[in-house]
Amino acid sequence: MRIKAIYGLIAGVILISWIGNFWYYESNKLPSPGFLRHYVEMMAIPFSPIELLYVANNDDERKPVNVQIDELPELRFDPLQVHQELRRQTIYVLRGYIQEDAMTERTAKEPLRLRTATVYYNDGSVRDEEIGEIVVYREAWPLDTSVDSPIAMMSSGNSSGNEGFSTVKAERPVRLEGVASALLDRLGAAFQYEIETDSSGAELSEGQSVKLSYRFRLSQEDRMNVYRLLLKETFVEPNGEKYEYTVFANYLPYPSESEMRAYVREERRGGE
């Protein structure tokens, strides 16, 4: 009788270990795989790639194989690649490029605001998926290469701490009018930038430089989003001619295991 009780106790402990681990495993699974939310600005010209991130449980069989955006037929995506592999989930990346040979002549158009994309999966299904908000600037094509810019790039950089900078130099006298991005309002205090100039104000003489520094200050919840801001510095020459210089501010999520667990918990709560 005592032996049976010992065997029963041991079997019970093993059973608890299995039940507990299964429960923990299941509670850390994404309820459904999907695209992260992207808040991205892009220019509809070649050499301006876009990255769409897709997160799935490691044992999910269904994966996207291609993405199509009806409004941008010249945008083609490379095959799915792994962006980051975690213990239970994997973040994949679909990198899209505007194909130069697919471009046709066009005049500048109003920016597009894309919220969904047509996604083709390896199981043959096709679905319209929410991707966040992508602002696409459609400048005239071919680009006007005759512009003699009064601004020249000096240096730029970014760090893993989600900070970056860009310094430009005035080739001739200009005035910095301001910095703009379609996503600044959305990000609010989560994105900070500063401007430093060699001069005392916004007026730059020949040879003087202006440094734009930025940093993302994202909350735990926003850290799983993808951000790319095109910070457009507008310069005006004394004759009233305007020039834009664009600084790219990128943020791609590389979550830790605990950040991914928090994301999964949030997704599970959202699905309830």
């Binding site: 041991i10 402990v13 093993i14 270990s17 299995w18 507990g20 681990n21 299964f22 923990y24 495993y25 850390n28 490691n58 044992d59 213990r87």
Partner: protein, 198 residues
């Protein structure tokens, strides 16, 4: 009977040792389980323990055939693998089946030894089963943690359990040969046709 014990012992050796030449296993598990089944089918007439071991040996045989078709029921506890639920469950099932097989064989030897007054063999069989059960239970307890953690970090402890289980396998093989020698001399010099009541 001596031959039946030897068949089970050799069967266990085949399942335990892998000698591969160009990927081909010279001592394939399938041959091992055929030997174990052959031996147990004869011994099952002699004791209830062997009758328990026989059907579970069949299950292991089926699992070994399934492995030939790609079904995986082995998970490394030390390589930092992240197995899926299916593989880990099947591995646990295979381990439970193996423990029951161990129990049946040990109980059979113990029962026969007690009938014949061979207390040393009975005691050895009993303690072998207890050690196998303890180590098997520890591994079964640790196994599901692989779903959530990288167990490679505690590999020395797991290695100790696995080595302990290997030693119990080896000791059981020796015990089977010994039982064959001792019991084979009772009532008919190893005739497989003899019957001994239980």
């Amino acid at each position: 009977m001596k031959r039946a014990f030897a068949q089970v012992a050799w069967g266990l050796i085949f399942t335990l040792v892998n000698i591969r030449i160009n990927g081909f296993d010279l001592l394939h598990d399938l041959i091992g389980y055929v030997l174990i089944l052959a031996g147990l089918s004869k011994l099952s007439r002699h004791h209830r323990g062997f009758r328990i071991a026989l059907p579970v040996a069949w299950i292991r045989f089926v699992l070994t055939i399934a492995a030939l078709f790609g079904v995986r029921y082995e998970v490394s506890l030390t390589r930092g693998e992240s197995p899926d639920i299916g593989t880990i469950s099947l591995t646990a099932l295979a381990m439970v089946v193996e423990l029951v097989l161990f129990y049946g064989i040990c109980d059979g030897i113990r029962g026969m030894a007690l009938e014949k007054g061979k207390k040393a063999i009975a005691s050895r069989a009993g303690s072998l089963w207890r050690w196998s059960f303890a180590l098997g239970a520890l591994l079964l307890f640790c196994m599901p943690f692989q779903l959530n953690y990288i167990l490679g970090e505690i590999w020395p402890i797991l290695m100790l359990f696995a080595l302990g289980l290997l030693v119990t396998h080896l000791l059981l093989i020796f015990l089977l040969f010994r039982a064959g020698r001792v019991f084979g001399n009772y009532g008919g010099a190893g005739s497989d046709g003899e019957t001994v009541g239980t």
